[in-house]
């Protein structure tokens, strides 16, 4: 039993790991953080072996087919099988060494992790600095009852250095770790409402096909068909086959049809992706003052955000989703573990696209406010901002049209018609977008929050804690100076690090900044004006 190995420097015996299989509930070692070293779960070897078997199969099958033509089958089979066996056994053996050499300890003060065979890495985190404990498990790991645990501090620098990864432990162990490491702040009184803030509603799936994911997936699918057919040297045949299907219709209709097919494929893909990402979704507030997002159909994810680290909330409305009257909610928090690359956006998402009122309500609940700050009425920006947007829109249409027209004059009159068509179609579109962009602009103060909104294709409304603003940057380009507007940037430790109030009026913006965060800009409102006056006279 586990009590048999209490020694400071000794590994926990194998019997202890056997205990974990039963569920780990009877293990006193986590509940009473002892000084003993623990190991990862042994079944991680099974997971590794299974993955390697898959890889070996995936690589071995084409190799067998490819080689079978030139050599006798038994010879090919024995080679491929030997290679596969070598890969699986070698990989598993390497993983066994990793398992032998990896141990971790949850002490009263610190969490320690030792890894490595030749280069031994000893890392430790102070428990009070732990800000997040995230669990993920892919389908295979779920089948084996294992999870990957990432213990993160609030550091935004250094990437992996500030994160300890336990790859893999049992699910019960992961849950206990999560609970223990985040539960220390349970003394916080006055938590508004505990329990579930939002659970998945299957009707939300209707917003999946209108997001930008759908066309992207459609395009990716079309690209994949072309790429794969090129690998097999059959690209021309595929194109011919498509041409054959559409022999009776004109080229334009064929393109329209193909675009439609790609869109439908993309929409189906988006639906599938939504189900995989958001199934079993649940946002809840836990007693320790943490918000927890759990979701995922195949790969189960659990993300915890400490509320003390929450500096605000961001309501994001991509164009398609906004037209459908929906919005997504992201957290603006310091030290959110940044996953490598593309998964980063997932971690801060608190709520998928849902009806706008619900998004506002959940945002208010998350922040513990009676009224949603993101729904507050905002001050409009001066008309100069609208003029600027209209001017940008017209320039962005005029530039390609002028280029096309110029080429048309030089080369062929066909391009002149294309230019005219572009001008007719794009101008109203650009003007509409510009007007919408101006309508979206706004800023205001709602209770303890500073609210700013901007964007048209991706409209975002940010509610930032006024006490979380750690500095201001005022920017003014030459054109902005002439139009009498400026861009105000509130810098903060959380989220993107800086949030803009675009094209606010000069005095409007500065007064707002001084009001929103009184002790920051106020002493400088005079100095801000003086050097400007000096520079204009000199």
């Amino acid at each position: 039993m586990s009590e048999a190995a209490p020694g400071e420097d000794r590994y926990v015996g194998d019997g202890d790991i056997g205990d974990g299989d039963i569920g780990g509930a009877g293990r006193p070692s986590v509940a009473v953080p002892g000084e003993e070293w623990r190991r990862l779960d042994r079944r991680m070897l099974l997971a590794t072996a299974a993955v390697l078997c898959g890889v070996a199969g995936g690589a071995g099958l084409p190799a067998t087919v490819g080689l079978a033509g030139s050599r006798p089958l038994w010879q090919v089979l024995s080679w491929v099988l030997a290679g596969a066996l070598l890969l699986v056994l070698g990989g598993t053996a390497a993983d066994y060494v990793r398992w032998r050499r990896t141990r971790y300890r949850i002490g009263p003060e610190r969490v320690e992790l030792h890894t490595g065979l030749l280069l031994v890495k000893r890392r430790s985190l102070a428990r009070e600095r732990i800000r997040s404990v995230d669990l993920t498990a892919n389908p295979l790991q779920r089948l084996l009852g294992l999870v990957k645990v990432r213990i993160g501090t609030g550091e935004s620098t250094g990437g992996s250095e500030s994160t300890l990864e336990l790859d893999l432990v049992t699910r019960a162990e992961g849950e206990l770790l999560r609970h223990d490491l985040l539960a220390r702040a349970a003394t916080d009184a006055g938590v508004p409402d505990e329990g579930a803030l939002a659970t998945v509603d299957p009707r939300w799936i209707r917003y999946a096909p209108v997001s930008f994911v759908a066309p992207a997936l459609g395009g990716a699918a079309a690209g994949a068909v072309m790429q794969v057919s090129e690998w097999f040297g059959a690209q021309a045949e595929v194109i011919d086959w498509i041409g054959e299907r559409f022999r009776d219709v004109s080229l334009v209709w064929m393109l329209v049809d193909l675009a439609l097919i790609a869109t439908v494929v993309g929409a189906v893909g988006a639906l599938g992706l939504w189900v995989e990402m958001w199934w079993n979704y649940r946002l809840e507030r836990e007693p320790g003052g943490t918000l927890r997002v759990r979701r995922g159909l195949l790969t189960a994810r659990s993300v915890s955000i400490e509320e003390r680290r929450l500096r605000g909330i961001e309501v994001v409305e991509p164009l398609g989703v906004r037209l459908a009257g929906a919005a997504r909610v992201d957290a603006v928090a310091t030290g959110l573990a940044k996953d490598d690359g593309d998964k980063h956006a997932d971690l801060k998402t608190l709520l998928p696209a849902v009806p706008r009122e619900l998004a506002d309500r959940v945002a208010a609940q998350v922040l513990g406010e009676p009224e949603p700050p993101t729904g507050a009425p905002l001050a409009a920006h001066p008309r100069a901002a609208r003029t600027r947007r209209l001017r940008w829109a017209l320039w962005s249409v005029a530039a390609p049209v002028a280029l096309l027209a110029g080429l048309g004059l030089l080369l062929t009159p066909v391009l002149l018609y294309v230019a005219a068509g572009c001008a007719v179609v794009l101008t109203p579109l650009a003007v509409l977008l510009a007007l919408d962009a101006y309508r979206s602009l706004g800023h205001g103060v709602s209770g303890a929050y500073l609210v700013t909104r901007s964007g048209t294709v991706r409209r975002t409304t940010v509610a930032l804690q006024r006490s979380g603003v750690i500095g201001w940057t005022v920017k003014q380009s030459y054109f902005q100076r002439r139009a009498g507007v400026l861009t105000l940037t509130a810098t903060t430790a959380a989220g993107d690090g800086a949030y803009d109030i675009l094209d606010a009026g000069e005095s409007q913006g500065l007064t707002f900044a001084a009001e929103a965060v009184p002790d920051l800009l106020a002493p400088f409102v005079e100095p801000v004006r003086t050097p400007e006056a000096r520079s204009t006279e000199g």
Binding site: G471, T473, Q476, S477
Partner: protein, 151 residues
């Protein structure tokens, strides 16, 4: 801002233009067929660099301003794109004083003040090196005296 900053910026611009000009000139001297075009490009870059070096540093010197009070650090930069940056003492996390090789030549220093935000760093460039060191020390002392965890 020290007046030597103008000379520093000027030499910085000259060095950055000198590198491509020298490369192009050497290539032009070696490669016969393309000599004209290479030398033309080198000449154009040299003219552009000299023009910038003559014109911009003085302008920058006129528009750069900084101020440190007991509560905050304030920096103003930029000619076409003006920028004001403010960071209060209580939010400052690190104060770095850097002196590059060219800066050492002109006895100048740069003070960089970073806050917890990834985008809120303030740079006060072209200070007299003694002033820069002194400012760094003063800021450090002020920051230490101000309570709070700066996030």
């Amino acid at each position: 801002m020290d007046e030597r900053a103008v000379a520093w910026w000027r030499s910085q611009l000259l060095v950055t233009t000198a590198v491509p000009v020298v490369v192009l000139a050497v290539l032009g001297a070696l490669i016969g067929p393309a000599r004209f075009w290479l030398l033309l490009a080198a000449g154009a870059i040299a003219a552009l660099g000299l023009g910038c070096a003559a014109f911009f540093p003085a302008w920058w010197f006129r528009v750069h301003r900084w101020e440190v009070t007991d509560e905050a650090v304030y920096v103003r930069t930029g000619a076409l794109w003006q920028e004001w940056r403010i960071a209060p003492m209580s939010r400052i996390q690190t104060v770095d004083t850097v002196r590059g090789p060219l800066e050492q030549l002109f006895r100048l220093g740069t003070v960089t003040v970073t806050t917890a935000s990834s985008k809120g760093a303030l740079r006060i460039a072209g200070l007299d090196h003694e002033l820069a060191a002194e400012l760094g020390e003063r800021l450090t002392a002020l920051t230490q005296a101000t309570p709070g965890d700066a996030t």
